[in-house]
């Protein structure tokens, strides 16, 4: 089966003043199939949101990209703004934003924003009963209560604002849903409800790229996990194997999981390198107990892990 999204050797770098460049994404490759949820996890500043912006063609002017990201037969990196605006965003890639309160237009009601999106993206017309029915159906799909449709964004709780934003993202029936930190700032119950809803929306015919630093949310709904560290995907694994047994194989991924409060609750020593001064070799070597001379070369992603000394299968991750 052809994947919904196929990303190959995607790199993004930003040219800054004084000749400095920020390497935000380096050589990222992954496929995403219909009905599949891939969680892209990593700490803030590792480049995961830049990857999302690249897929939506929303990078700033000083960004340089390399590689490709095919959605069907369109290369998202090569497409011009006109194509992206008229055929891709909303129609073939739906975005569930990080901060719905900031994403929704503050001076218009949820109903008016849904109606505008529907009349732009579907054939429901610009007014009349057909549009009203479509608005109600769109709200219902994201479990947004119909009696709140006439409210303004600031009158909604965090959870309801998230549902309003999700409803907007679903209108175009896009085959790829991109959720960028959709649960930041929500409490645990709402996190679970939000990600469960996202999972339900993808069903069998859409794909979901969930970008998050919340490992519990990723564990809950992801089929596969991609761990990003200092601009590179360092591990790409099945979620069951990653969160359960045999556990992560990259030392960074293993450390990140072990930092969880229901595991060892121990931090990884040190901090990640700056994206302006990435080392020539493995970016994790400075923090890694297993590092040796071979780590002066960047390891490629082989068999799902980019490490010269991956954990061997069979070593159990301890759960406290």
């Amino acid at each position: 089966m052809t994947p919904v999204l196929s990303v190959e050797r995607l790199s993004v770098r930003f040219r800054m003043r004084d000749g400095v460049s920020v390497r935000a994404v380096s050589d990222a490759s992954f496929d995403l199939a219909a009905g599949e949820c891939l969680a892209l996890v990593g700490e803030s500043g590792c480049g995961k949101s830049v990857l999302a912006s690249a897929l939506l063609g929303l990078l700033p002017e000083n960004a340089e990209t390399a590689g490709s990201a095919h959605l069907g037969d369109t290369d998202l990196l090569a497409a011009d703004e006109r194509t992206l605006a008229r055929r891709i965003r909303g129609r073939r890639v739906g975005l569930v934003p990080q901060s719905p309160a900031a994403h929704l237009t503050p001076v218009r009601t949820v109903r008016s924003q849904l109606a505008e999106t529907i009349s732009q993206l579907t054939r429901a017309g610009r007014r009349g009963p057909q549009l009203a029915t479509a608005v109600a159906a769109a709200a219902d799909r994201a479990a947004f209560p119909l009696d709140h449709l006439d409210r303004y964004p600031h009158e909604l709780s965090g959870g309801l604002a998230q549902r309003a934003a999700t409803a907007l993202a679903l209108v175009g029936d896009a085959p790829l849903l991109l959720a960028d930190e959709p649960t930041t700032g929500l409490d645990r119950d709402l996190v679970e409800r939000t990600v469960d809803e996202l999972r339900r929306h993808i069903g069998d015919d859409r794909a979901l790229l969930l970008i998050t630093h919340d490992l519990a949310a990723a564990e809950r709904i992801a089929d596969r996990v991609a761990v990003m560290y200092a601009s590179r995907i360092v591990e790409l694994a099945d979620a069951d194997a990653f969160f359960g047994s045999p556990g992560p194989r990259h030392p960074y991924a293993r450390g990140l999981l072990n930092a969880l409060p229901d595991r060892e609750f121990a931090p990884i020593p040190g901090m990640p390198p700056e994206l302006t001064t990435l080392p020539d070799g493995c970016a994790f070597a400075a923090r890694c107990a297993r590092a040796d001379d071979t780590c002066a070369w960047v390891p490629g992603l082989l068999d799902g892990v980019a490490c010269h000394h991956p954990e061997t299968a069979g070593a159990e991750v301890t759960r406290a």
Binding site: S157, G158, R188, L256, P261, D262, F265, M271
Partner: protein, 220 residues
């Protein structure tokens, strides 16, 4: 002992966010306050840190009733508290370097700060040229490290952490909790940690209190 006694507080007298709430933290103890978004737990934390004046009720700090709120609180009471908020970007002056951010509480008292800033930066793991940068030049995790250091600058007897780690990845969370616990081991300071992550607060705090229908169900 930090005592919040029959506190009623909010932003509209006719509809207070919390009414008649009582919560105590024993000297040197770590209490986690758990509750869903919007329940009023952050408002209670602000009252405890003398940052929000309640409509009714009392706050007693180590046997002494609070004598004012915000800038009207006596300095000795105000500086008994170190506070860390959820969003480091909203709680850091964007014009200050991280070093100045950490030094600010000492500057306010015209005290010598170079050595203390270095000591705190080491404790929270801010090395290299990070101290010279301003907030927009560092990540959320690095900025929150600076905000925690700032809270510890004046060696407070009480720490109030309101969703300190909600924006952070697992490793940075474990690191910052480690810094707080190390400080408490050294100084015997007490802690009120507010949040909605049960797994985290139960691992972190000696006692957790659940926010029920009418406020925290505290049986201590």
């Amino acid at each position: 002992m930090l005592e919040l006694l029959s506190v009623t507080a909010g932003y509209d007298r006719r509809a207070p966010v919390l009414s008649d709430v009582t919560l105590t933290v024993e000297p040197g103890a770590a209490v986690g306050l758990l509750g869903p978004s919007g329940c009023g737990k952050s408002t209670l934390a602000r009252v405890a840190a003398l940052l929000h004046e309640p409509y009714a009720g009392r706050v007693v700090i180590d046997g002494e009733p609070a004598r004012g709120w915000r800038h009207r609180a006596p300095r000795a009471q105000r500086t008994a508290f170190g506070v860390v908020f959820q969003q480091p970007r909203l709680s850091a002056d964007p014009r200050l370097s991280l070093a100045d951010l950490i030094a600010e509480p000492l500057r306010a008292g015209r005290l010598e700060h170079t050595a203390r800033v270095r000591e705190l930066a080491d404790a929270v793991g801010l090395g290299g040229d990070l101290l010279g940068r301003r907030p927009h030049e560092v990540s959320d995790g690095q900025l929150q490290r600076a905000c925690l250091a700032r809270a510890l600058t004046l060696r407070p007897r009480w720490l109030i952490c309101d969703e300190m780690t909600a924006m952070l990845d697992a490793s940075t969370t474990a690191a910052l909790v480690g810094v707080v616990e190390e400080y408490r081991r050294e100084t015997g300071a007490g802690l009120l940690a507010v949040g909605h992550d049960r797994v985290l607060l139960e691992r972190w705090c000696g006692r957790t209190v659940e926010w029920g229908e009418r406020g925290p169900a505290d049986d201590a």
